[in-house]
Each structure stands twice: as structure tokens, then as C-alpha cells.
């Protein structure tokens, strides 16, 4: 790996948000391929960050700053991708926190990671009613829906959301992944979700896998 790429990767891991844009710009100026910067620099760094998080070496405050640093780096590269007509989109994902729950940190980190990994993500925010969700799914036609809940008190809403999607005939048209502190793989299976991610890195992996299987 080139020294420049290593520096970009290290900057994301070490949360050097004030340096990242200069480093990415310098790499671009040197003629480095934007995809390489994203995949082998920014995203590769977030894989390391995700691992450190899973190992309890770092926690959400550090993860947030690393994700922010990655996003700042992406912001430098993205205009170039658009210019050459490469959307890099690997699929469209709708993300939301279910009704009754306004917690969104986990969801926000997952979104930043998904965007970094090349997915087009539509963030429908928090406390999302099923009605609004149905309307958006019909309009956007995503490949994947990601639902988040932090509170055990809102877990029933996840079940209800999936039930409504099934009733409306939308469940066959997309995959659903769920996550959040109280959620487990067995709960995901029980409510009819297609997958569960324990953390942001797992969510990205799951999205790759599920979108590979998505109908259409």
C-alpha cells in the first residue's frame, strides 16, 4: 500500500478530522484513483475501526469521530465520481428508526458506513410511522430496508412494521435488516426480518449479502 493511502487510512482510524481532506486531496493530486482512495483508504480504515469497536477497544464517541472523518474524506472524492458519471451505487437502502424511538446514533453510523461502501442510502430519520414508511417504499422502491430500535419498549414496533409490509405485499419486494441494542438474531428471525447486524460493520456485510439476493 502506498504511503499516502496508509496516511489516509491512519487518519480515519486516529480521528484526524482536520487533516483528512488535505490528505485525500493530495492523493487525488498525485493521480490516485478515487475508488482506491475510498475502498483501500477510507473504507478499509472503517473496517479497522469497526473491529476495534467490536473488541471494546474504542466506543461510540470515537466511532462517531472516525465515521465523521471518513465522511469528510468522501466529500472530497465524491464530486469526482459524479463528474465521471459513476454513481458507484451498489443498491438503494432505506434506513429508519421505528415509531416511538428517537435514538439514531447507531443508525447514523451504519448509514455513514453504508454510503462509504457504495450504497445509496435514504435516511427517513427517527420515530417513523409505518404509514410514512410504506409511502416511501412505494415511491423509492429500495432493495433493502434497515430498521433500528434502541429501546426494548419499541421492539414491538419492529414486528408491527414488518407485519404491515407483509399485509401490503411489500415484503416480497425488498429485504429487511434490523439492528439496535435490544435486538438479536433470534428476534430478527421471529419477526420475519431477513437479517440482523450486531454492529455497523456487520450491517454493511449483511447489506452486501442481502442486496446480492434482493429480487429484481
Amino acid at each position: 500500500m502506498s504511503e499516502m493511502l496508509q496516511q489516509i487510512k491512519d487518519a480515519v482510524i486516529a480521528r484526524k478530522r482536520l487533516e483528512i481532506q488535505g490528505l485525500v486531496q493530495a492523493a487525488l493530486d498525485e493521480g490516485m484513483d478515487p475508488d482506491t482512495i475510498i475502498d483501500k483508504g477510507l473504507i478499509a480504515a472503517m473496517d479497522v475501526v469497526g473491529k476495534k469497536f467490536s473488541d471494546s477497544e474504542i466506543f461510540v464517541p470515537e466511532m462517531l469521530v472516525s465515521a465523521l472523518t471518513m465522511k469528510m474524506g468522501l466529500d472530497v472524492v465524491k464530486p469526482l465520481l459524479l463528474k465521471r458519471g459513476d454513481s458507484r451505487s451498489r443498491g438503494t437502502i432505506i434506513m429508519a428508526t421505528v415509531k416511538g424511538d428517537i435514538h439514531d446514533i447507531g443508525k447514523n453510523i451504519v448509514i455513514m458506513m453504508l454510503e462509504g461502501a457504495g450504497f445509496q442510502v435514504v435516511d427517513l430519520g427517527v420515530d417513523l410511522t409505518v404509514e410514512k414508511l410504506v409511502e416511501q417504499i412505494e415511491t423509492i422502491g429500495p432493495h433493502l430496508l434497515g430498521l433500528s430500535a434502541l429501546l426494548t419498549t419499541t421492539m414491538p414496533e419492529m414486528r408491527r412494521t414488518i407485519d404491515v409490509l407483509r399485509e401490503k405485499g411489500l415484503k416480497e419486494k425488498l429485504k429487511v435488516m434490523v439492528g439496535g441494542a435490544p435486538v438479536s438474531a433470534s428476534f430478527a428471525e421471529e419477526i420475519g426480518a431477513d437479517g440482523y447486524g450486531a454492529d455497523a460493520a456487520e450491517a454493511v456485510e449483511l447489506a452486501r449479502r442481502l442486496i446480492g439476493q434482493a429480487p429484481g
Binding site: M63, T153, P182
Partner: protein
């Protein structure tokens, strides 16, 4: 010692005489739809009206059989009094803070009439009412938010955590310090109003922040809080806090209310000789989705492990079946 609800809880809090059985207690909400229906009081009324609040708390003791009454169901009472905008929710939804008045980390000043603001007054009045009804019979538990949780409310959770990640240490410490008077005033007033015990909830949650964050930012604050508030305090922090249990004891709390993610036996081994342990029946998989048998087994595991007061790990999902809550009570009534 007479094995009354009150005696069992207070004795367990100080790890004293054991009585006929372990007590069942709820430092956080045990309100579910069934309980609301059974006593004819519902959310959001029970957050805003002291009679409704007390009525619902009594139902936990009289209908479910818990040895405690705890009338504060939300985490937003102080936040409302500090100027946050609160959506008080409905029957199916817990309240939430919607507007963060100090997202810019501007100075927080606890208002002079803080204790008279409606969201605080309602809790104090409910505690006084409970004192008149079940004082000396059931243990009355109050609940206050610590400065860490209040920071989430006044600055926004993500924003607050981001500042920690950016190592804006002075900013973070100043905010915690400026919020301490709200916690102290609220806790002291709850004791004066009739609480036997106050739960101090401060969500430096395991998995969200590390033990090193707790040690740097919150441990010194908690030491000051436990010194300033004289009555018995039970700390509530969610998540897997195995890595900081000893710090909770060092902070001077009389008890710790913990989640199932911390194994009951391991917790007792680590700090059982230094503080009362309360919990830790799992909410998501067991109380909400499990059967009364599942609940019973987990409660018995906690009793056998030496947990002092048995109850749900945290505020329960509103759709939790009443039979599952009663299974905790059945488990403690079998004795040690």
C-alpha cells in the same frame, strides 16, 4: 425481622437480615398495557398528573405484587424543567426529548424555580401521595437523572458523544458540572417528599461508552453526588458494565441496578460485598418475548447468584405480558 415488603427491600439494600424471601423491586418502570388497563390509568396522563402517576405506581405493588412503588416512568422529568421540549408520548410510546436547548454547549443554568416546575412537582406530589398510602408498607422509590443523561437531553445524545470523541474535555466537564445541581436538588426533594430510596440513572451505558470515559468524566462527578445526596442511592446504568462495576462502588452508591448482560454471579463476585445488586431479568428476550417459565428461571438464577433485589433489568417494553412480571414475584415468594 418481619418479612414485610418495606423491611425486605430496606434490609436487602444494606445487605442486612434476609427475612423469609428475597424482595422484588423495580428501580425503573414496570408499566405495561395490562397494568394500565388493570388500574384505569394510562400514559401520557401518568407522566403529567400526580394522582394518575401515584395510582399506576401503586398498581405495581397491589396488582403485580412488587415490594416497591416507583412513580416516575419517563427519563424526561428534569429535562422538561430544564427547558427541553418533551413529547410526552401516548399509551404505546414513552416520552422523548425533542429539542435540545444547549446543543451549542452554551451555559446551563438550573432555574431557581426548578423544583416547582410542573414536571418535577408532579413527581414530588406523587411521592408524597404514595407516602400517605403505603409509607412503611412498601418501599417508595424515587428516580432522578444524573448529569450524563441530562447532557444527552440538553445537548443531544449524538452531539454530546461526538464532543467526547473529539476530546473537547473542558466543554464536556463544564456541562456535567453545570447539571449537577439539578440532580442534587431533585434527589433531595424526592427524599423530603417521601422517597425511601432514589434511583440515580446516568446512561454512561456499557457498549456505548467505555470504562475509561466513565473514569475520566463521570466518576469524580458521581463521588460528589453521592456525598451531596444523603439518602440511599441506587445507580442505574444500562448495558454491559462489567468493566466498571468497581468504579460504581468506588463512587459511593449504595446499590447498582444492572442488566442481564452482566452475569449475576460475576457481578456478585465482583462487587456484591460492597453494594446492593438489583436486577437483572432480561427485558427483550425474556420478559417481553419469553414465557412465565423463562422469567421464573432467570429470576431464580439471580436469587441463587446472590442478587439482593430481583426485578427487570430496565424499563420494560409496554407490550410485556403481566403474567411475565408476576413470574418474578412468584420466583421471590419461593424464598431463598
Amino acid at each position: 425481622m418481619k418479612s414485610t415488603a418495606y423491611n425486605l427491600i430496606m434490609s436487602a439494600l444494606y445487605k442486612g437480615m434476609k427475612g423469609d424471601r428475597p424482595p422484588a423491586g423495580n428501580p425503573t418502570s414496570i408499566v405495561c398495557h395490562g397494568l394500565m388497563d388493570a388500574c384505569g390509568v394510562s400514559f401520557p396522563e401518568a407522566h403529567l398528573n400526580s394522582h394518575a402517576m401515584a395510582e399506576l405506581a401503586l398498581a405495581g405493588h397491589e396488582i403485580l405484587g412488587f415490594d416497591t412503588v416507583m412513580p416516575e416512568y419517563s427519563v424526561d422529568q428534569e429535562a422538561a424543567a430544564l427547558g427541553c421540549e418533551i413529547d410526552w408520548g401516548d399509551r404505546d410510546r414513552m416520552p422523548d426529548t425533542r429539542f435540545f436547548p444547549h446543543a451549542d454547549f452554551s451555559d446551563v443554568k438550573v432555574p431557581e424555580d426548578f423544583l416547582e416546575r410542573p414536571s418535577i412537582r408532579v413527581v414530588l406530589d406523587a411521592l408524597s401521595s404514595l407516602r400517605r398510602h403505603v409509607g412503611g408498607k412498601a418501599a417508595i422509590i424515587g428516580k432522578v437523572m444524573g448529569p450524563w443523561t441530562l447532557s444527552y437531553h440538553v445537548a443531544g445524545t449524538q452531539n454530546f458523544l461526538l464532543q467526547i470523541g473529539m476530546e473537547e474535555k473542558d466543554k464536556v466537564k463544564k456541562m456535567l458540572r453545570q447539571l449537577m445541581p439539578a440532580t442534587i436538588a431533585s434527589a433531595r426533594a424526592q427524599f423530603q417528599a417521601g422517597a425511601d430510596i432514589v434511583v440515580l440513572a446516568d446512561h454512561a451505558t456499557g457498549n456505548l461508552v467505555g470504562a475509561y470515559h466513565y473514569e475520566e468524566y463521570l466518576l469524580p462527578v458521581h463521588k460528589e453526588l453521592t456525598a451531596a445526596i444523603e439518602g440511599p442511592l441506587i445507580l442505574h446504568v444500562c448495558g454491559n458494565c462489567m468493566d466498571r462495576l468497581e468504579m460504581f462502588a468506588d463512587a459511593g452508591f449504595d446499590g447498582y441496578h444492572f442488566e442481564w448482560q452482566v452475569d449475576a454471579k460475576a457481578a456478585v463476585d465482583k462487587v456484591g460485598h460492597r453494594m446492593c445488586l438489583v436486577g437483572n431479568v432480561n427485558n427483550a428476550q425474556v420478559l417481553y418475548q419469553g414465557t412465565p417459565d423463562d422469567v421464573y428461571r432467570q429470576a431464580r438464577y439471580a436469587i441463587d447468584a446472590g442478587v439482593d433485589i430481583i426485578g427487570p433489568e430496565c424499563a420494560i417494553p409496554l407490550a410485556t405480558p403481566m403474567e411475565n412480571l408476576k413470574a418474578i414475584v412468584s420466583a421471590v415468594h419461593e424464598g431463598y
